[in-house]
Amino acid sequence: MPATATRTISAEAVSKSFDDDQVVKEVSFTVNAGEFVSIVGPSGCGKSTLLRMIAGLEEPTTGALEVDRGTSESNLSFVFQDPTLLPWRNVRNNVALPIELRGTLNSQDQETIDDAIQRVGLTDLDKSKLPHMLSGGMRMRVSIARALVTQPKLLLLDEPFAAVDDVLRQQLNEELLKLWQQAGCEQPAFSAVFVTHNIAEAVFLSQRILVMGANPGRLLADIKVPFDYPRDSAIRTKPEFTELAADVLKRLRGS
């Protein structure tokens, strides 16, 4: 079976309980290498817990969860709900942190860091700024640059744009897709699992949407998004887009 060879995540009846409280119940799904998958669901459906389990920050209570960690040291990055920057470090040193924690910085790393900062749309001037001098959207860009600086094969994002306004959210969505698609490359730069409660965002970004329901958190549907990439903002107003979003909403309500 050649398909399993490119599998990044495979979850088999994964459950998670905190004390007597079951937050995730028997969830099974797979994510292939290079795939962009979103998880949508109401608050408290365990979607963030599921993401934390994929990251290895929580252990499943029962079930099998396999994440291909590959041979590379820097396999997986996590983008949190908040920018989660060190307030006493400037932009550049915040982005440098993951490399710094894994070893000493060398001259080649300096290039990687500058490149990551540039890719998320920050300027040279921003590099020396402290987080409190930046807007919320800019801070989130720094957070994404920090996640990408280790060139991960799997990017996990936990409602990263929940706190920004809708216009900026759409812009950041488009930029995220560009980073994923990697200009001039055949293969996407990484596999992505994107947790959100915003349906339009999930439809716009992903190839597949996992719909989750609450009490207990379980998988309700696994929906394919058939639109081609590159996607631009025009797609949001197409009838197929709204139809699919309505379908996702229907599945969510069905829970």
Binding site: F78, F80, Q81, T84, L86, W88, L97, L101, L130, T150
Partner: protein, 270 residues
């Protein structure tokens, strides 16, 4: 905004912050002076401000040396407290079980009446600077331990996760996350402790500041107790000014450091 606007702003700000307390001081001193003269209160009970000023002038040399000595003792003790406090907080921050075991004894530092322990320390460590510094440490250590421990423990959970995901060692988590996170709290605790340090130094000098080649304000106050109330009050004022000066210096450092953290210094009195 033009430059002259800025200057106007500064002058009006100065007037707003300095003028009211200054006027209050003048009013207070003149009332005091007149009450003493009108009611013919003997100088041995309550000397008027003019006599205190005169006593301060006559004893200027001795007062300056005494203030310097007390400043040195409180600063040394305070610095020791910062070092010991940060080290203890670092140990406390490692595990809840350590905090639970040691905390009752840390509270002991806070609740022990310093005047009760001072004679004991005098007995153990003898008369002199070292004992005074020891008393300063005991009185100023607790706020630093508590605040710095809190700063080290109350790290954003997502930041800890970030460090874990990048396979950070315990050392890295401590030095790159917990320690810097505690810096603003360390500074504000040091500010609180600075006032306590001056109190500790003066209490220390009451007990252990005698018959040393140089002596501090505490000894000066004790020595003036007999019939030199005006000089004694000058020393009391000097000790208050010393506490104030230490507080101001640390506030200045605090404002610089908090700016780096994007926080604003809280000051309800301005």
């Amino acid at each position: 905004m033009s430059l002259s606007d800025c200057e106007d702003l500064d002058v009006s700000k100065l007037a707003k912050n300095v003028l009211p307390p200054l006027l209050l001081l003048v009013a207070f001193l003149s009332t005091w002076e007149s009450v003493v003269w009108l009611l013919k209160i003997p100088a041995i009970t309550l000397p008027p401000p003019s006599r205190i000023a005169l006593a301060a002038y006559k004893n200027a040399d001795e007062l300056v040396i005494a203030t310097g000595y007390t400043a040195l003792a409180s600063t040394c003790g305070l610095l020791c407290s910062v070092v010991i406090g940060v080290v203890m907080a670092a140990i406390f921050s490692q595990a809840a079980i350590i905090r639970r075991s040691f905390f009752p004894y840390a509270i002991f530092l806070q609740t022990v009446p310093i005047v009760a322990v001072a004679p004991l320390l005098l007995h153990w460590f003898g008369n002199g600077f070292q004992t005074i510094v020891m008393i300063v440490i005991i009185i100023s250590l607790f706020p630093i331990i508590v605040n710095v421990t809190y700063g080290m423990v109350s790290v954003d959970r997502q930041l800890v996760n970030l460090f874990q995901l990048n396979r950070a060692s315990r050392w890295q988590i401590f030095f790159k996350l917990q320690l810097p996170n505690s810096v603003p709290l360390l500074i504000s605790a040091t500010k609180t402790s600075a006032g306590l340090a001056v109190i500790g130094a003066i209490v220390g000098e009451f007990f252990a500041g005698l018959s040393t080649p140089l002596s501090g304000l505490g000894y000066f106050i004790m020595k003036s107790l007999e019939y030199k109330i005006d000089a004694m009050m000058a020393a009391v004022i000097a000790s208050a000014l010393l506490g104030n000066a230490m507080f101001t210096v640390i506030s200045f450092i605090e404002s610089k450091i908090l700016a780096r953290f994007g926080q604003v210094q809280s000051n309800v009195f301005q």
